[in-house]
């Protein structure tokens, strides 16, 4: 490719210097996709993130087997023991082994966060397609409502909804999913706005295709890149938000060994010098969120151009 030429002609631009006549090779069928995936594997950040995430996934699945002690077993006589050979991460105020709780704590968040993000992505995609394709009145009205939604920080809306509905895993999934949908819809809408100017959309209209077909069969596959990117970015935010909600007591509930809950329960102990029941869960959260964000960054770089 001539580096001086634009990478790909956008809709309707008259590039006089067209790409050279290349005899097509049918075996290159999946070349483009493979190229993108190859970029991904070569990205060090993506690999690093994937490794950390992988570690936590294993913990989530095999937690009970890996953990040295029973995460729920209390031992009041041994409470708040500092990290030692017996308990690498020490014990918390009820004598529970912190290491075991940290390992098993991966479970809830690794179920709730992806589900919430999936829900939000699905809803957001539909909303984005509708507003982006129809524009006009539909777009104006829906966009205003979305704007109103976006005026409130996610945390606050999440808080209110959960207080209203009572905290539980299912509630959290629905609330986070619904709250993310407008944000994702924004991005999808922008991508759809560009895409609909491409002439294959006009060609489809000239066949009198149904609107639903044009939106879902023609346009949607072409915006899958941005959608994938949004999904991975939002996943990071979901983990972030759910952990925060748990910390505020409104997410996953005790006695689940969820990391946010652990911090919520033992935060006050810090000033007494008992840092280990709080620090290790905090680091666990940090590592997971960073991992997901690194992967999201890798995905963004590789799939940017859809």
């Amino acid at each position: 490719m001539d580096p001086q030429q634009p990478a790909g002609a956008g809709p309707g631009t008259a590039t006089v210097t067209a790409p050279p006549e290349i005899p097509a090779r049918a075996d290159e069928a999946r070349q483009a996709r493979r190229e993108q995936f190859r970029l991904l594997w070569r990205s060090k950040t993506f690999i690093a993130g994937a490794l950390i995430l992988g570690f936590w996934v294993i913990c989530a699945i095999f937690g009970e087997v890996i953990a040295p002690d029973d995460p729920f077993a209390t031992d009041p006589l041994n409470d708040l023991a500092a990290p030692s050979g017996d308990h690498w991460f020490g014990t918390d105020r009820l004598g529970r082994d912190v290491l075991s709780r940290v390992i098993v704590g991966a479970q809830d968040i690794l179920i709730v966060a992806p589900l919430a993000t999936l829900l939000g992505t699905a809803l957001g995609t539909v909303l984005g397609l509708l507003t982006g394709y129809f524009r006009g009145a539909v777009d104006d009205v829906l966009s205003r409502i979305i704007d109103a939604f976006l005026a409130l920080p996610v945390i606050i809306v999440g808080l209110m909804a959960i207080v209203a509905l009572g905290p539980s895993n299912v509630t959290v999934i629905f609330v986070i999913g619904l709250v993310f949908a407008p944000v994702i819809a924004r991005t999808v809408r922008a991508a759809v706005l560009t895409e609909r100017e491409f002439e294959y959309v006009a060609a489809a209209r000239l066949r009198n295709e149904h609107t639903a077909y044009i939106m879902f069969a023609e346009i949607l596959p072409n915006v899958s890149g941005p959608i994938l990117v949004e999904f991975t970015v939002r996943l990071g935010y979901a983990i972030f938000t759910i952990a925060t909600l748990s910390f505020l007591g409104l997410g996953i509930q005790p006695p689940a060994p969820d990391w946010g809950v652990q911090i919520f329960e033992q935060y006050g102990l810090i000033s007494g010098g008992y840092w280990w029941p709080v620090l290790f869960p905090a680091l666990a959260i940090a590592s997971l969120v960073v991992a997901v964000n690194l992967m999201a960054d890798g995905v963004t770089q590789a799939f940017e151009r859809g």
Binding site: Q5, G10, E21, A24, A32, N208, E209
Partner: protein, 688 residues
Amino acid sequence: MTTATATAPALELSDLEVAYRVRGVWRPVLRGISFSIAQGESYGLVGESGCGKSTAAFAALRFLARNGRVMNGSIHVGGEDLLAMDETGVRRLRTTKTAMVYQNPTSALNPSIRIGDQVAEVFAIAGAGEKEATERAHEMLRKVQIADPASVMQRYPHQLSGGMNQRVVIAMALANDPTLLILDEPTTGLDATVEAEVLDLVAALRAEFDTSLLFITHNLEVVAKMCDRLGVLYAGRIVEEGPVREVFDNPRHPYTVGLFRCIPRGGIRKYDQQLDTIPGFLPQLGAELEGCVFTDRCGLAQDVCRQQEPPLYEVGEGHRSRCHFHERAHELPRATAAEAVKRPSTEAEDPVVRTEGIRKTFHQEGHDIHALADISFALKPGETLGLVGESGSGKTTLARTLLGLTAPDEGSVVELDGRQLAPGIRKRDREQVRALQIVFQNPDSALNRRFSIHRIIARALTLLRGDRGEELENRLRDLAHSVRFDVRLIQARPAQLSGGLKQRVAIARAFAGDPRVVVCDEPTSALDVSVQAAILNLLAELQANEGVAYLFISHDLGVVRYLSDRIAVLYLGRLMEFGEADEVYNAPQHPYTEALLSSVPGAEGEERPRIRLQGDIPSAADPPSGCVFHTRCPRYIGDICRDQEPELKEVEPGHFWRCHYSAEELRELQKTAPPGRPAAAPAPEDEP
């Protein structure tokens, strides 16, 4: 400045090799090119995409991309060795000796800085003080024929038209009186009449400043007009070089010969002969080639060509060719047979499409845009109606109205086979939808890049004809055959195909439903010259076989003349002239058509009186009163043109135009060029 450098060539490239690193591999782009441009000379570098011409231009400025490198050879600008210089030296050279103008002028200017400041900056770098820089900027803008420099200097680029911005860029380029001015496709994307003015300006300034020009383009006719000598670049090698007239009259390399044959020249029509094509494909950028770079596609190629790369043979006075068989270049066998398509058999049939009084106004906040006004014409089956016009003429809107993508205003009549068509496509029945299809300009945009070719065509077949299963596969194969698309590639995705192949798919898709009318919207403008010819031939052939009518939109007047039976000329949404192709292209003709044809360099090879239109095309939001062309018309009569819009009259049988003059009057007048109009571009209310 010593005497040595004073007579040194403005630019001298010696065996220049440039390569780019793509994914770790160094790919050669320029394989050792050498040419030199004397002081005050104008040199044209011609080639198709991927030949490396832009690389040559940027190399002369030592402005290569990060992954590019000069592997070998030397570059001398005004006698100074460019490659041996340090950073400061290069900057000094850029300030004082070289300058560049390239495509897309508006994006070449910083959107956040005023024009005046950007131009003054050039003088400031050379050492002028602030006040002096501003004054000289003002002077320079006047030199490039900008009517009101003071006001323009206060503006930002997005407030000016493309033509205006290009003048500004030219002003910046010539500000410090450079030795060498490089122009890289400077008029692509500009309207024909604007292009003519810009080229005239460059020629005039070149004479005044005695600057050397390196003119890079794919357009041979522009080269003929602007350059003294030319070099033909193919796959990073100069394959022919010489004085322009020499090379045009007597090309001595098979590639050059082939190129000339691809272009419809001398007024030939599709009924005369098919255009010749160059077989094969352009080599990929950076491909490894053995022997002569053109061997794979050359009809004269023999073993020696592959074994030994030809040196540049002297074939005439300053005329060189890189071909072992250069004496026989003109004997190059045709790649495509010359037999022409047949004329449609019957003449007086009912029109397939008839329009009357089409009007379209777009309502935007504050003002209305009058895109189309009173368009009436009829399209006969199997004929091609060429639609010609510049930006704002409404040709795209007209096409969209016919197709049902844009609804025209109340009272517009659009009929297919005598039946009124619903304004929106949703309300049309399947027969009508099948009957009207389109081939778009840009195949990258027109084909869904996620679909396989099979799916793209199959979907059209399913929806337009209701084909399924076995029948569909057969029909698909037939279609692929008819557009010469190799069925083995049917599962490929568009991104894997070349521009020409993609366009064939787009054509196949348009023909899937056995249409009666196909709108061709600049179908070859995004393709290379050698590919264009093949597509044009294909379109002509399909038309003859299927009896389809074309509405052929193009800015390339030579191509329009080749393909069209009748021609309609649009200006600001009005039909200015309409008639048989030959009649429209010759006097008597509407003054706008006259000016338009006069702007195209070397069209038809005939000499035309030189007519230049002043100013920019008026906006469709505020069209001039009376005859909309009166503000720029070189044959302006007087108040009548300003006050009264002329009707579309039949001035000769089958020949219509919208002008107050009659045929005899214009025939007389158009024997000579019109007297010039006052320089200032009049505003709509003004009169000269």
